[in-house]
């Protein structure tokens, strides 16, 4: 089983707040609570990026957190995906031209999926995770990733 299969079947998700307001953080933590429950899709929130296949980044990327983000990203497994959550994570949002924000998240690390919103609803974040799972699935059929491919 290659590393790709882990994103296809059960991606482990890690969260990095690069200087946000905690709003997106709350919605990401809400993912593991009973109403949203991403464990239905085989995903777990992990505190260490080393254990994770998908990195969720929120916040406007302050100068202080930039090195830490790159450091955490490098320690992840080779086949990794990044989701930028919130308008700050996507473009810098209202903080874009302030004094300690020089670069956006996608100028520092490659971003595979953008989830805009302030903050985006947990359903939107789940949608992004599931889309990444479908993308990595060979059959490319929607919904198969969530259920798993039958007969294999």
């Amino acid at each position: 089983m290659g590393l790709r299969n882990s994103i296809k079947k059960s991606p482990w998700v890690s969260y990095f707040n690069s200087g946000g307001c905690n709003g997106c953080a709350l919605e990401v933590v809400a993912l593991i609570t009973p109403r949203y429950d991403i464990e239905r899709f085989g995903a777990i929130l992990k505190s260490s990026a080393r254990h994770a296949d998908i990195l969720i980044v929120s916040g406007a990327l302050t100068e202080q957190s930039r090195k830490r983000l790159v450091n955490g990203y490098r320690q992840m497994s080779p086949d990794k995906k990044v989701i930028a959550v919130g308008i700050c994570g996507c473009s810098g949002g209202p903080f874009r031209f302030t004094y300690n924000i020089k670069k956006r998240v996608d100028e520092v690390i490659p971003v595979d999926m953008y989830v805009p919103g302030c903050p985006p609803r947990p359903e939107a974040i789940i949608n992004a995770i599931v889309k990444l799972m479908v993308e990595n699935d060979g059959s490319k059929q929607k919904g198969t990733a969530a259920r798993g491919r039958k007969g294999k």
Binding site: G93, P94, T98, Y99, P119, R121
Partner: protein
């Protein structure tokens, strides 16, 4: 102003509006004040339940964490129904609010709050009777009344030590609703937990009273910030304590803003609480302060153990650059 914090956005917008309205000498109508009370108290319910769930998680009660966050979703539903946003509400406006509550919204709110109240009462009983909770929390991270006053802690941390400090008791509209701060005497983590849970129930009561006293008048028109020149302060009681804003504006443009967030005052007391405790108690003590690290991110340049002291002009030249509008750093 809401984007300062994701957990207590309303407290920041209320403190900011309090500040601007004082500076522009506007006194909002009673209806507007009551709407702000409702929004603030709903936020307090939300934040305290979030915190208690987090605390249960620290203590090893994963199930209780899930229960609390499940109930919290109901308060978020109320927010979504009223304001349209789950986390950031943007409900208050200068001198007014974005829109009035309809009968449908009120009924929805009361129904959801009744459910939350029933559940929180049950959880409060758990916290009061469970021996493991008591063993983990009692006597851990004690701060005496004297110490709390000296450290200048605010919010539930101070009230857990028996210091009668609360911004709400100085606000006339809260006094009319018969508000009394919730106090505990002991000052350990257990007392702080009980203060927060009891405040949740109190906030539900306050929302109900505010709804029953709501005048049936129409909302006033929104005010405009254009051309205002003032220098003023405002405050509100955030779930974590006193939230203080200072704004200096010239011709409708904010020249200087300083926000003193509650966690910034509370985290100082951590050192005294940790003394003589075991490593395993650190998460409990730090958690019991309800720290919001977004609240604590402040610019302070320290070199060789000395804080760098510079004027506004020097700061801008060194760190901000000339072409960027003056976003004011605090400190």
């Amino acid at each position: 102003m809401q984007r300062v914090c994701g957990i207590c956005p309303t407290s920041h917008s209320t403190a900011f509006l309090d500040c601007v309205e004082r500076g522009m000498k506007i006194d909002p109508a009673k209806k507007v004040k009551l709407l702000r009370v409702i929004e603030l108290e709903l936020e307090r319910i939300n934040s305290h339940m979030l915190w208690t769930g987090h605390m249960a998680n620290i203590l090893g009660y994963k199930m209780l964490f899930m229960f609390f966050w499940k109930e919290r979703e109901h308060t978020l539903d109320v927010f979504e129904k009223i304001t349209g946003g789950r986390i950031h509400h943007n409900f208050s406006k200068l001198r007014s609010a974005r829109f009035d509550l309809t009968k449908d919204m009120e009924n929805f709110m009361l129904r959801k709050l009744a459910r939350v109240e029933k559940k929180v009462k049950g959880y409060l009983k758990t916290f009061r009777s469970d021996s493991i909770m008591k063993a983990r929390l009692r006597g851990v991270g004690t701060i005496t009344k004297d110490g709390a006053e000296r450290m200048g802690v605010v919010g539930p941390v101070a009230r857990g030590s028996g210091v009668n400090i609360d911004v709400r008791k100085h606000i006339p509209v809260y006094r009319e609703l018969g508000f009394e701060p919730v106090l505990e005497k002991v000052g350990d983590s257990y007392a702080r937990t009980l203060v927060r849970l009891r405040e949740t129930l109190q906030s539900i009561e306050l929302v109900r009273e505010a709804l029953s006293e709501m005048p049936k008048t129409r909302l006033p028109k929104w005010g405009s910030f254009a051309g205002a020149t003032f220098e003023s302060t405002g405050r509100s009681e955030a779930p974590r304590g006193e939230d203080f804003h200072f704004i200096k504006a010239e011709n409708g443009i904010i020249k200087r803003a300083k926000i003193r967030t509650p966690t910034f005052s509370n985290i100082i007391s951590l050192e005294g609480m940790l003394k003589g405790r075991e490593i395993g108690d650190i998460p409990v003590i730090l958690g019991s302060l309800d720290p919001c690290f977004a609240c604590m991110e402040r610019v302070m340049v320290v070199k060789d153990g000395k804080a760098e002291d510079m004027s506004e002009e020097e700061f801008r030249r060194k760190y901000v650059g000339n072409n960027i509008p003056s976003v004011c750093p605090t400190h």
